[in-house]
Every structure is written in structure tokens, then in C-alpha cells.
Amino acid sequence: MIDLGLSDDQRQIVDGVVALLQENCPVSRLRPSAAPSDVHRRLAEWGWFGAALPEHDGGLGLGVAEEVLLYFEAGRFLLSPSVLATTLAARLTGGDERKALCAGDRRAALVLSLGGDEAYCIDGAGAQVLIAIRTDEIVILPAEAFSGEPVVGLDETVALERGRLDHGLRRGGERTHVGVLLGAAMLAGVSRAVCDLAVDYAKVREQFGQPIGAFQAIKHLCADMGLNAYAAEAQVKAAAAAAASTPRDAAFQIAAAAATAMAAARANGSIAIQVHGGIGFTAEADVHVYLKRAHLLSGVLGGLEEQHRWLLNCPPPQMA
């Protein structure tokens, strides 16, 4: 079976990371009125970008399961997709470049192909390296491979550029689903965080003399969010376990995790806006960012249809 419990070490890692993120990256940092902040360096100091890399390379020597736990929290705290890009770039490189990426001296950003040589680049400022996630492959390119102009993104908390991607500059890739796995973990974290946000609101907002969470119509929406978040967390953790120890089943479990987490994050982001009422429609409230982030991350991972196609092409898992 798959033991989805956390070891004491894993629990400690999660506690440490939550404390780090609470202090340095409260979600309020993303509000339109907030001063710009850069958490990349703080994460590097903690060891984030080399979490699953060997210690002699500047890493923490943890495994993919622990990295999935980190990325669940990254999703909860709405860290930039560039964090994911930098983790993946550090995996794909070696030597001094890897060390520089782990130390936060070099950064990566995600690019998302639009077909042909058109692409988006997300939070590309200051990045030396670009990463594209395909389901079974991670491609690494130098920053010069992309040239584009800023456009107004659906998720305004990241900088979006549209332009040309020169695939000819590609520096080799890695055939692995780990990019999708970590992205799915972020989506599961988004699902959980936005559920918690809306449930907390439903406990304090009063109408007709009682908290709105006492109304069954709202309670059942909350229950659906809880269920979606539970399913996404469960499947992401099972996929992490498979990635760590049963490679034959990993592709199936990861595609199922991505599909489950994409659907959960999208649904929960939408439901949470409704539960908030008018305030949910304001830019100043945090709730909309989760929905937008759900779209952004799903796009980066190729979208739900792509994961569905993958899943249908996998043999059923051998062991559960």
C-alpha cells in the first residue's frame, strides 16, 4: 500500500518551511497596494532550490517526496512559478551553474509555448535560464532564447511577456515528469489554501443574524471545496510516493495527480469567490489570486486536456 503519513523529519521540514513562508511571503504581499518584495534570496538561503540535490552540490539531500511537500506549501503561499523553474533548472544543470542557481545568484523563469515559436514568459526579469515543462520532458534554454513584450496577464501578480522562443538554443533536457508533479503539488496547495480562506470567512461573515457558514447552501459549497482539496492532496502525495519508489507507476499517478489538482484548484478558486460575495469580486481581497494562479499553473503544465491524454495512454498502475 501507499503510506501517506509523514515521517517526523518530513513534519519538521514542513513546519520549518511554513514558518519561513509565513514570515517572508504572506499572501498580502501580492495585494495591489503592497510594496514589491523579492523572496528568491530568502528561499535560496533556506536551501529551497537544491532541496532534492546532493549536499556536495549545495543541496539539502532530501528526496522527491519532501520536495513535493515544499511545493504544496509553495502553492499555498502563491510563490512565483519562477521558484519552480529555478528548482528544475538546478536539477538539470551541474557544477558552478547548479551551485549558483541553488545559492540564488542565478535564476530561472518558466516559458510556455503557444505553438510554433510563439511563447509566454512568466516573471522573466532577472532570469538567466528558461524552463519549459512538457509532460514527460523538461527543456532548458538560455534567457536569450526568448524575446518578447509585456502583456497584461490574467494573473497580475506575475509579469507576463509574449514573444518568440528560439528552440534552436535549447541546451538539452531531462525526460522526467517531475515538473508536472511539483506543479501539481502547487495546485493542490492552492486548492487547500483557498478552501481555508473561504471557510474562515464563512465563519465570521454574518447575515440574517448568523454566520453565512450556517446556511446549508454555503456549507455545502465549503464541503465541496474541502473534498476537492482532500482528493488533490491525496493523489499528489500518492504520486510523490510512486515517483520515489515505483517508477513504472509514476507516469500514471502523476498525470492523475495533475488532472485532479487542476480540477480542484479551478473549482475551489471559483467557489471561494462566490462564498465571499461582493468582496470576492474586489481586487483588494486575496481570493481571486488563487483562481488566477490555478489557471496559470494549469497552463504551465500543459492544461487539463493534455494530462487527460497522458493518462489515457498510461498502463494502469501495477501497485496501489
Binding site: 500500500m1 501507499i2 503519513g5 454566520p211 473534498l227 482528493a231 500518492a238 492523475a256 496501489a320
Partner: protein
């Protein structure tokens, strides 16, 4: 967070697989309610018991193997893979998945020694007498009376929707023993011998064509006080432990079965679809729905693992129960759409259209989906109770 698969686990899996390959009945379960159906269910139970597979996790003293839950899950998984008779839609289900566990948790030694081996061997079929015409979702409204008379309880009243009452020797019976009580107090959980004088059973025909759930009437039915579980007046508490089993561990085999059923649909589509619309079916709307239920079935299994790992109290079973019951309906509705016109015949493709109808029960029985959402909202997420519900 790791895959646990010891050498012993692998051996156990192989042993299970070999035994199932040699023993799973070749014929299908009769879909008509009646003696042949009961015999099929009981024979399969008996065969498992005789083969040493009566129960993987129950203590050895009661005929189980006393093995950890991991092995239990392997067994369920292998049963599903071997397309063994299903755990639900089987008259031994009540005894195995909630009467037995409740007796293990709350019964006395004599009750354990008498009932548990009989449940495992199929010698005793059980049914559940909780719901009444006036007490469905609102179970605390139970009115069937029990009057203590010497060392007996004398019971009068009516239950309804009692699955497999026509097949059962014993019943989990929830009654009101304190006439002055209302709601949760004053209830008692008693094991009812269905052959006792004064018990009358009337089957009800359901939308799928079966008639395995029944009305049960009690006219001064006399049961010994020794049949009470957990003490007179403790009925609500015992019933709640029972529901935790019904909404928790009872889902484990079903989760495995659903995943196998989704694979069955995929195989069907692989074999049939290309000739109809080319290999591009994966890109079609039906392909997307198949992928979605495949992901959901994987997530359901993972939810079972998470439930076990978290061990966070009985309410969390409602996550699994709710997801499972709605997924079963999505899967069988998808089967209908895959079948096209052949969905108009109940027996098509091994009976999927009949299953489609039968699956409407999943979001009603064991607590409706609405009740599960209430439980999740209030007991997991901590939302306040609504004004009308107290």
C-alpha cells in the same frame, strides 16, 4: 509518504492472486432477488472462509488472519483485479463491513465468540434496521419501541429500507427503550434474531428491478437482554461507531472495485471504439470523461490511504464516502453514454445499464450526499450548525 511493499507483502499478493485465479466463480451473480442470489453470495463467502481468506485484518480468535491493514488492502485490490464478486451488492456486506466491526469494538465476549465466526463463514447473513418511515436522514427520530420485561426486550414498531432483510438471520436494530426520551438519548442497539416470532418482512421493489430492501414490522418481538450491544440507553453511541465503519473502512474494497471497473470500460472502448470513429476516441468528449474518471478513481484510492494515514477521527470517512458515491454514479452514467443505444437493454455489457440504475442508491444509502456534506461542513471544517438543525 512512501510505497510500502515488503517481501512478505509481495508473497501475500501472489498467494492471493493464485488463490483467486483458482476460486473466483466463473458465473455471474444472479441479478434477480431470491434464493439463487443469496446462495451465490453465501457460497462465495464460504469459499473464501474455507480457503483461509475469511478476513485479513480481524483477529485470529474470530476466524480472521490478524494481519495489518496494508495486507487487507492488497487483498481487496487483488479481488478487484480478479473481478471477484463485489463486496457491496452482496448480502454478506452488512455483517462484514459494519455489524462485525461494531461487535469487535462494542460487543461483549459472548457476542464476539458467537457472531464473528458466523459472519466470516457466511453462516449468518445480517441486515441493518436503522431507518424508519419517520426517521431517515434524521436517525435520532427512531420510534420503534423496546420495553424491558424481566430479562427480555419486547419490541414493537417498524423499520424500512432494510437491505437483505429477506436473507438475514440477524439485524442491527436501533430502538427507543426510554419512552420519555427524545432524540439521541434513550436509544438501544440490539441484535435482532430475524426468525423470532412477531417479525414480518415485506420486500420493496427498487428502480433497478431488485427487491432486496424491505419493510420490517415488529409485533411484540421478544429478544433477550443479552442481545443488547453496549448497554441499554447507549444505542446512539453504538450506532455512531457503526456509521463510522459504514462510511469509512467499508469503502476500501469499493474504492478498489471502482478503479477496476473504470479499467473495464477503457478496455471496452479500446476494443470497440476504433472501428466506430477511429483511434481518435481519446480526443473526443467521451475520451475526456474517461480520463477524468480514471484520475478520480486513482484519487479515491489515494484518499483511502490518506484517511488511514491521518487517522483523524470518524468524520473524515465522509470525504471518502461522498467522493466514492458520486464517482460511482459518474462512472455508470459514462458507461451508458459509451454504450449508446445498447444502453437501452439492462443486460448490455455485463449489466452496466442495470448498474446505472442501481447506482442511484449510492448517494442515498449510508447517509445521503447532503448529509455527508453537512458532516464535512460541521465536523471537519468547523462551520456552525444551521438554525433548523439541532
Amino acid at each position: 509518504m512512501r510505497v510500502v511493499q515488503s517481501a512478505e507483502d509481495l508473497l501475500f499478493r501472489q498467494e492471493a492472486r493464485d488463490w483467486l485465479a483458482a476460486n473466483v466463480p466463473g458465473e455471474r451473480r444472479p441479478h434477480e432477488t431470491g434464493d439463487a442470489q443469496r446462495a451465490f453470495d453465501v457460497d462465495w463467502r464460504r469459499r473464501q472462509y474455507d480457503g483461509g481468506w475469511g478476513h485479513i485484518a480481524w483477529p485470529r480468535a474470530y476466524g480472521g488472519r490478524g494481519l495489518p491493514v496494508a495486507r487487507q488492502l492488497i487483498w481487496y485490490e487483488e479481488c478487484a483485479r480478479a473481478r471477484a464478486p463485489a463486496y457491496t451488492n452482496n448480502c454478506c456486506f452488512v455483517g462484514l463491513s459494519h455489524a462485525g466491526p461494531t461487535i469487535i469494538a462494542r460487543g461483549d465476549d459472548a457476542q464476539k465468540a458467537f457472531h464473528l465466526p458466523r459472519i466470516l463463514s457466511g453462516d449468518a447473513v445480517w441486515c441493518q434496521g436503522f431507518s424508519e418511515p419517520g426517521a431517515g436522514s434524521d436517525l435520532a427520530g427512531v420510534r420503534t419501541r423496546g420495553v424491558i420485561d424481566g430479562d427480555s426486550l419486547v419490541i414493537s414498531g417498524q423499520k424500512i429500507w432494510t437491505s437483505y432483510a429477506i436473507y438475514a438471520q440477524f439485524q442491527e436494530l436501533l430502538i427507543r427503550t426510554d419512552p420519555d426520551s427524545t432524540r439521541h438519548d434513550g436509544l438501544t442497539f440490539v441484535i435482532c434474531d430475524m426468525s423470532a416470532p412477531g417479525v414480518e418482512i415485506r420486500p420493496i421493489r427498487n428502480i433497478a428491478g431488485g427487491s432486496d430492501f424491505c419493510e420490517v414490522f415488529y409485533d411484540e418481538v421478544r429478544l433477550p437482554l443479552t442481545a443488547v450491544v453496549g448497554g441499554v440507553g447507549a444505542g446512539w453511541d453504538v450506532a455512531m461507531s457503526l456509521l463510522a465503519f459504514e462510511r469509512g473502512a467499508a469503502s476500501f474494497p469499493v474504492a478498489m472495485e471502482i478503479a477496476a471497473r473504470v479499467e473495464e470500460l477503457l478496455e471496452y472502448v479500446e476494443s470497440k471504439r476504433p472501428s466506430i470513429e477511429g483511434a481518435g476516441w481519446r480526443e473526443s468528449a467521451l475520451g475526456a470523461r474517461l480520463a477524468a474518471v480514471r484520475a478520480d478513481a486513482a484519487a479515491l484510492k489515494s484518499m483511502v490511504y490518506l484517511l488511514i494515514a491521518r487517522d483523524a477521527g470518524p468524520a473524515e470517512g465522509s470525504y471518502v464516502r461522498l467522493f466514492l458515491s458520486e464517482l460511482e454514479q459518474r462512472v455508470s452514467a459514462l458507461a451508458m453514454d459509451l454504450l449508446g443505444p445498447e444502453g437501452l437493454e439492462k443486460a448490455s455489457l455485463g449489466g452496466w445499464p442495470r448498474r446505472y440504475l442501481d447506482d442511484f442508491k449510492t448517494t442515498i444509502a449510508a447517509g445521503t450526499s447532503q448529509i455527508q456534506r453537512n458532516i464535512i461542513g460541521e465536523r471537519i471544517l468547523g462551520l456552525p450548525k444551521g438554525g433548523a438543525r439541532r
